[in-house]
Point group: C2
Chain length 709, copies 2
Amino acid sequence: MTYDQATTREVLDGVKASGRTALNAAEAKRVAGAYHIPTPREGLATSAEEVVRLANDIGYPVVMKIESPDILHKTDAGCVLRDVIDAPAAEAAYHSIRDNARSYDADATISGMQVQQQLPASQEVIVGAATDPAFGKLVAFGLGGVLVEVLKDVTFRLAPTSHEQAAGMLDDIAGSAVLNGVRGAPPVDRNALASLIENVSALVTDFPEISEMDLNPVFVSAEGVAAVDVRILCSFEPLVPRYRPSHDDILSAMKRIMQPDAVAVIGASAQDGKIGNSVMRNLIDGGYAGDLYPIHPKADVILDRQCYKSVVDVPGSIDIAIFCIPARFVAEVIAECGQKKIAGAILIPSGFAEVGEHALQDEIVKVARESNVRLMGPNIYGFYYTHQNLCATFCTPYNEKGKVALSSQSGGVGMAIIGFSRSAKMGVSAIVGLGNKSDIDEDDLLTFFEQDPNTEVIAMHVEDLKDGRAFAEVAERVSKKKPIVMLKAGRTSTGAKAAKSHTGALAGDDRVYDAVLRQCGVIRAKSLNDMLEFARGLQVLPTPKGENVVILTGAGGSGVLLADACVDNDLSLMTMPDDLDAAFKAFIPPFGASGNPVDITGGEPPSTYRSTIDLALNDERVHALILGYWHTIITPPMVFAELLGEAVIEARAKGIDKCVVASLVGDVEIEQACEYLLDRKILAYPYTAEKPVEVLGAKYRWARAAGLL
Amino acid sequence: MTYDQATTREVLDGVKASGRTALNAAEAKRVAGAYHIPTPREGLATSAEEVVRLANDIGYPVVMKIESPDILHKTDAGCVLRDVIDAPAAEAAYHSIRDNARSYDADATISGMQVQQQLPASQEVIVGAATDPAFGKLVAFGLGGVLVEVLKDVTFRLAPTSHEQAAGMLDDIAGSAVLNGVRGAPPVDRNALASLIENVSALVTDFPEISEMDLNPVFVSAEGVAAVDVRILCSFEPLVPRYRPSHDDILSAMKRIMQPDAVAVIGASAQDGKIGNSVMRNLIDGGYAGDLYPIHPKADVILDRQCYKSVVDVPGSIDIAIFCIPARFVAEVIAECGQKKIAGAILIPSGFAEVGEHALQDEIVKVARESNVRLMGPNIYGFYYTHQNLCATFCTPYNEKGKVALSSQSGGVGMAIIGFSRSAKMGVSAIVGLGNKSDIDEDDLLTFFEQDPNTEVIAMHVEDLKDGRAFAEVAERVSKKKPIVMLKAGRTSTGAKAAKSHTGALAGDDRVYDAVLRQCGVIRAKSLNDMLEFARGLQVLPTPKGENVVILTGAGGSGVLLADACVDNDLSLMTMPDDLDAAFKAFIPPFGASGNPVDITGGEPPSTYRSTIDLALNDERVHALILGYWHTIITPPMVFAELLGEAVIEARAKGIDKCVVASLVGDVEIEQACEYLLDRKILAYPYTAEKPVEVLGAKYRWARAAGLL
């Protein structure tokens, strides 16, 4: 698509020159025309003859309206006529409207008669663009009209957006079925609508000074689209470019930071209770095998390690320096780190932006940029990288190695990760505190974890993305290889409260995060506990090979709850093929329910569980298995756990690795059975039907977004 | 409001006599008129003079439409004109429409010209009525138009509904703000709309043969309402009245059943592994102190108890008989129970409706009715009533006494209750299996629990309500005294798939359950785990005295997550009064955040937690307290738990009993801290910010519905 940028530039320059930020209707219409955004044909006439000429030009039917600053409620005054179908009707309408206007207000100023193409019966939608504080230029799409303004059924994409992405937006909204035609209406022209969205996204990308845009309403029908009202707002203030090192620079620094060969502890201390002491101890007790240099102005030896006055005095090279000194001393030591070519400064100290000390934080960032040192923090607990036995933190040592990397912006959430991970045997590759995110943020971490062979799943607690655009770009790439789970805290709008357009008012809204994260293939967790469970579960579950889910249960009641949960988590219960149905029936009592859920009934011995599980595992058409176990005397919890474990392990040995999750209900013995299963990498949960299905749903969401299904 | 029942009866009799089930437009309009349901003024004219006379009568503006069976798309044919504002315009329109009709189809039969009152600019809504399989007559209200048909933003009430309840429906829908006026529109006439709903509910109540009704669209504006299209469908099949014993009869039977002085076990057995043996053992091992009579055709003594051939041979009176015999023998023994004046038969056996043996089930119900014996089950695990040490079940003995009564339709869910209750130290008064619910159902249980001093909270797992109407009536009364939590399983519609109206198609829908349960003050749990947690938590939390919630946290990050959860659970964060804000500030570091959440920051000693907690507990303006604890070395988990426990217990001693819930994040020691707190009746959860707030939210929902807030 080629656009007329010159015309657009001319219009915007004119607006700027006149000291305005809003385009008038004519200007907006010119810009729309330059970017192939269709608007209805229309014009203003001042006599009956002109009206007829204009209407003939536009084509019938037309809508006619009085143009008068004194008549606000034109319809009430009888000054709007629709369905004007030919020239005589247009002439009659002209007189009729003028007469009505006179009798409504004899003194009204009448500047003419607006004649507008009457669009065919159609659906109203809204298309817009906004500038989000985190993500920059966005396009928005939603159903139009007053109802949807209230229901706020709107979706977003990063601009620029491809035609295909724009088309995807049409299916994103809750009311999307309207576009496919309901109550006998034909489907709308989706292609034209997607092109319109694409063109809007190109416009705001080409002209970043366009800060907000509303096409509201856009009429869309089977015949095409037209934006009835176009509103464009500009901001001519210069944009501050984001600091964005190259991918290679990020990666080489992050590798040295996350897997350092040598670590310095700034403010190391021999004194119990000091942070500089806790960090030293954690490094030593954690078993860190690289070089470790305590830095202290006076001490000679700390915890049996030779001490240096400054990093510059250390003979060997150093990868990271962990700061355990007060905020006011940080900047000068960062400069020394620069001299020493240290890759990263881990800034545990608080006392910066989080307490209002923005100047102090700006200063350390400035020094770090000049010194080519990356900053983690400040105001963090530090970080762990377990596969290097690295506990660069003042918290407890932690060494449950695993394949999940987690980050958190808050120390509280970091501690929840540590505790849950230990309690639920999750195992982690890294836990990273990001705190104020003065420099290193989620996209730097993603760049490292993307290539880290020790990391298979990434989970992030985020309060704000400093550079959502950079995050989205990296996340979209990484999520295709490794699942990314995000807990986005802070649901209230942080956006542009003073926005002048509908779309603009949605910038910074939680819905923007929702849509953009989905676009990037990031799995959003709705709660802290979900983030933790998803992180653990996504690592354990293999990638499903298809959408066919089968529920196998010993309790009909659990089957119903599991099926409900499948609906809630967008999982497809397989339509049971006749042969497989018959095969299941052969194992279950005549009153058991075949179909899906398969209800083997409660009184069955272990062999029935085992036979039906084997059947499901070995049938290629079944891609995932949800088990609903019911505690009975005839098949006690541990017997069930052992037979399920055996079945799955045997299947794995044959190369069959399917998603298997289990809900166990029963007396307290089921807790032990769940642990037993988890040790065999089978996700099992006690006293809940929903959690296993939610985790399976998260795996499916990821696999679909990554294009693996 | 008086209605013209005679006219309605006449119309409906006519419809029935003509063998139809649907009313035609004129009939529907007559019925609407009889029940004060406003419709637009309209008429049919066959000449220009008639059109003008009619339009003069109706009042301008009018809408004119061709009446022709051959012209389906009237607007496209130019055969609909709006905004006809006076007599000359009406005459012109008559000719114009006729001409257009001719040129569209010269051979079209034209039966006249419809002239209809043109309603003022207004909002479209839909009002309807349906007959739900569980709840009977319902009224429905939603926003109209194609969008809302897709978005299905509709709410329901049991008919008849009061004016006040009808008015409440207007606020129930997601798009309710539309009715208050948006984009400068004035608010609609809510009173007229509520009256319309009330009148519809009266109509379907007075004439139960009206099975479905749609007023779609209804135009509502500041000036009033009018139903543009009225659709009424009847079902003239006779209704089978429900079996409904009187309240006193239910209660006297249920008291004997739940708290029996003498129990017979039909099919008692000395043989290990038999159900009749498990039941005997559970009764004995559970410590049941009443009379216990094993019934067996041949045995003399079973487990040291004298055995009888039949209940009729037992010398003393008996309250309940627990059946452990095959299905085919059940009916005759029920008859014997009747002779013996036994109040209830507890039917453990399966093999009835759940396996398609409907006739067998119908038979036992018939015998039971004739014999005046209430039936629990069949196809159940039995029941527990702990305060009588009664384990009338083949499951394990269970004796954790408490104040929560639970019921389940499924054995699987029953086992989940038992396990969770033991593991989470919930304590129960009763656990009841309802299975096929051939007779005793949730409203019978509610009638008993209502007056049971050992029960304070009721939780129910329900797959289908056999008599939703009876349940709703009892639940509405009981929920005002004791919280009722319901897990409604089975989200897919079981309703009238073949319905002919929009509203009718929604009968049996999950949304109906949602709306009716809310109307009755029942707290709906969205998952099994929520039901269990709510049951435990609602019992522990006192009734809040007001809406002011304060979050007190040691980790800013937890504060954000807790605040998010408050938004999700409709909790109001108190706007902090200046004096209280200042009082908090006195205890926390200068960089801590006052306001609400109160962030005391992470490095604080126990005394800061204690002082701020005391402040919140002792300030009368604070009604509920959410604590976000963050594991630190300076205030370790057990130290926090002890200080919080102390503070709450001291406050309770002073008569201050506020809702206190806590989210603990940290290393595994927090699990022990949570248990410690729970033992002191302070709800505390590890690794989750959401659960404590959800439980607090449930308590608030209940208190609001019960009119206590």
